[in-house]
């Protein structure tokens, strides 16, 4: 069960080998989390993440393999993850995502579909199953990792930003739909994070770029406060309030410099 500070005991992480997910898992395990089920695409990376979770205090870990390109496996992946927890699931983190290099893929129908599948369709399918399962167990939390890229979409990453925007907006409605069910959903909107997902990027480091630990720290605080949207770093709430109201010309000038 989760405690008064939003510190869960049993956690499922979908996309569990991503750097942000691993940083969050470590923080959770050093607080109260003892059971972690990590689902992802690469067994080796999942095992490494599971070992790390145990180092930080988890007493029971398990892994589930899936590929987020095929939303047909979402329900089964969720089911298997819940079964492996074997009790009340306190928190489900959706950290599934694919950034890609826009310029390489924007003329490929296949790649465009893949971006939307991984960043939006699979998470949406998984959320349907998670929603149903958490409501029937009487409570629980969902944390969906979105991105500030979803708030105002840059020309240079419109596929990623657009897919995340779909997920982000959908989750706001989904969170409303959960009112009174005991289940809550929170959205994490990190800025640019130094991680393996962004390591190959041709973009130069922009202001308010943070490390994964800072993101995890902001998540801990957000889980405790229960706010719908967790920004990381928190100042981006205000930065993006301004950015999303900028005239298009100015935005293009700033965003794609």
């Amino acid at each position: 069960m989760e405690n008064a500070f939003g510190q869960p005991q049993n956690v499922v992480v979908l996309g569990g080998s991503s750097d942000i997910a691993r940083a969050i898992t470590k923080k959770l395990c050093s607080a109260r989390t003892h059971t972690v089920v990590l689902a992802g695409r690469n067994q080796e990376l999942l095992d490494a993440a599971a070992n790390e979770a145990r180092e930080y205090g988890a007493t029971k870990t398990d892994t589930v393999l899936f590929d987020a390109q095929d939303s047909g496996n979402a329900a089964r992946t969720v089911e298997e993850s819940f079964d492996k927890v074997g009790g009340h699931v306190d928190l489900v983190i959706i950290a599934v995502g694919l950034l890609g290099e826009q310029l390489d893929i924007e003329n490929s129908a296949e790649e465009a579909a893949r971006m939307v599948n991984v960043n939006f369709t699979w998470p949406a399918a998984a959320l349907a199953e998670i929603r149903h399962r958490l409501i029937s167990q009487g409570g629980g939390r969902i944390l969906v990792i979105s991105s500030v890229a979803a708030i105002r979409i840059r020309r240079s990453m419109y596929l990623y930003g657009g897919a995340k925007a779909g997920l982000d907006r959908m989750c706001i409605g989904l969170a409303d739909s959960l009112e009174g069910t005991g289940v809550t959903l929170q959205i994490l909107r990190p800025g640019v994070v130094r991680s393996k997902m962004t390591a190959g990027s041709s973009q130069k480091e922009i202001p308010f770029t943070t490390g994964v630990n800072e993101v995890a720290e902001n998540v801990m605080r957000g889980l405790s406060s229960g706010e719908l949207v967790i920004w990381s770093p928190p100042i981006l709430r205000y930065v993006f309030f301004v950015l999303r109201h900028l005239p298009a010309k100015l935005w293009k000038f700033i965003a794609d410099r």
Partner: protein, 444 residues
């Protein structure tokens, strides 16, 4: 039958459950025979999650009412859903008071027993269960009348057992005679913690009731300044016009949730300052009504809303006399960490009872109200857990909303005795709660 989101008085970690309102013992027995994941709930005054069960069935005991005549020697039979408030309304005019009352009258008899509540007289009279002659409890394997003489194991496992051994439907209570509805109170202000603890150690035994309110926000020489209030029931001869009137219902209430963060380091500091300065330096034999002495917060309905939507946690621990220093260290850790803490309550505990999960052990107990919000708070309380554990002390389940399971076994070394009794009456583990799941009190 309704689906409801429930939380404790601290309004943290809510969960959804089906709420049932059985009107009698037969209904309760049928429910327990046919359902898994069941826990009883009274007036929801536990601070954390013991009276809720995510996805399960919460049995509201409020329909299990009924108060018998009070016998000439003060014995009364009450339904488990009767509140201390309702009992006092009837008993005070007849010259009887509940032998143990917590800081609120708004708790049910079943809840008071299941949490084995204590009051300002623990150092003299022990906790609630010590005054219960017998009780009737419905378990998944049957309905039993138990007492310290008859199935003492089940009786004592249920005292402080947080409802996990069964659903109490009624109990018989030994009341305490009073001549008036007033308490004669001695009040004294102390500039620091050491002074007040010394005074309590040497002279608490001369008073039936004793409690100190400690300021956890002051540092240095005034760290832990305190106001000590001690009293005894006024006799008829102590007063010019002795009366026996039942407490009035509250007139004040908090109509909406205050913004989270209203109670912060600055505002709590101001409150504590005003409160400390407004207390008399020293005052003797001041008559106070029973309700203003025992239940000052009952004067404001829904006062927990002052803490806002995020809610608050209460932290209460006890340590024996050899580890009195843990109280000092805990207050100094809090006052240096910058987390807001409303006035803390410091008390002496007397002898423990035979209950394996009953909280009080002889020595000191400190209770703190802490608004959720400060980043450092979870960590500070984890550190306090370790300090308490190292001192051989423990945390009170009825107040807790954030402890982890790994420390529980060390704090309650007789947990296995409790689990053995639970397993006997509930072999399939039908009775559980969010607290039991969180602290692994289910015995699986």
């Amino acid at each position: 039958m309704t689906r409801q989101t429930l939380s404790g008085w601290g309004r943290t970690n809510p969960s959804l459950a089906t709420v049932m309102n059985p009107a009698n013992e037969t209904d309760v027995a049928e429910l327990l025979a046919s359902t898994r994941g069941v826990i009883a709930r009274g007036l929801g005054r536990s601070y954390g999650d013991p009276a809720q069960v995510s996805g399960g069935v919460v049995v509201d005991n409020r329909a299990l009412g009924g108060i018998s005549e009070i016998s000439h020697d003060g014995v009364v039979s009450v339904g488990a859903g009767v509140s201390i408030d309702e009992l006092l309304a009837m008993s005070i005019p007849q010259g009887w008071f509940v032998p143990v009352t917590p800081g609120t009258r708004q708790v049910t008899m079943g809840g008071a027993f299941a949490a084995d509540v204590h009051g300002k007289n623990h150092h003299v009279d022990g906790s609630f269960a010590a005054h219960v002659r017998s009780l009737r409890i419905v378990t998944p394997t049957g309905t039993y009348d138990v007492s310290p003489e008859r199935d003492a194991d089940l009786f004592w496992a249920s005292a402080g057992g947080m409802g996990l051994t069964g659903i109490i439907t009624s109990l018989t209570l030994q009341m305490m005679p009073i001549e008036t509805d007033q308490v004669l109170v001695d009040t004294e202000r102390f500039a620091n913690l050491e002074g007040v603890m010394q005074e309590m150690l040497s002279r608490d035994k001369d008073y039936r009731y004793s409690v100190a309110w400690v300021d956890c926000m002051t540092k240095g020489a005034h760290m832990g300044r305190a106001i000590l209030t001690r009293g005894r029931h006024a006799r008829a001869s102590d007063l010019d016009e002795p009366t026996l009137k039942a407490p009035a219902s509250p007139k004040l209430f908090i109509p909406f949730d205050a913004p989270s963060g209203l109670l912060n380091v600055a505002s709590v500091r101001v409150f504590n300052e005003v409160w400390f300065r407004s207390a008399p330096k020293r005052q003797e034999r001041e008559p106070q009504s029973l309700s203003s002495f025992f239940h000052p917060l009952d004067g404001v309905r829904d006062w927990n809303r002052l803490y806002g939507r995020r809610g608050f946690v209460q932290y209460q621990f006890c340590v024996d006399d050899a580890h009195a220093n843990t109280v000092v260290e805990a207050i100094s850790r809090l006052s240096s960490s910058g987390v807001a803490s409303f006035l803390a309550v410091l008390k002496r505990f007397g002898a423990a009872n035979p209950g394996p999960l009953s909280f009080p052990v002889p020595g000191w107990t400190l209770a703190l109200d802490l608004p959720v919000g400060p980043r450092a708070l979870p960590r500070v309380l984890d550190d306090l857990d370790s300090m308490v554990l190292e001192a051989g002390g423990r945390i009170y389940f009825a107040k807790d909303a954030r402890l982890g399971p790994e420390k529980v076994r060390a704090m309650y070394p007789r947990l296995d005795e409790f689990l053995a009794v639970k397993h006997r009456v509930d072999p399939e583990g039908r009775l559980t709660s969010d607290l039991a799941r969180r602290l692994n009190l289910e015995g699986s």
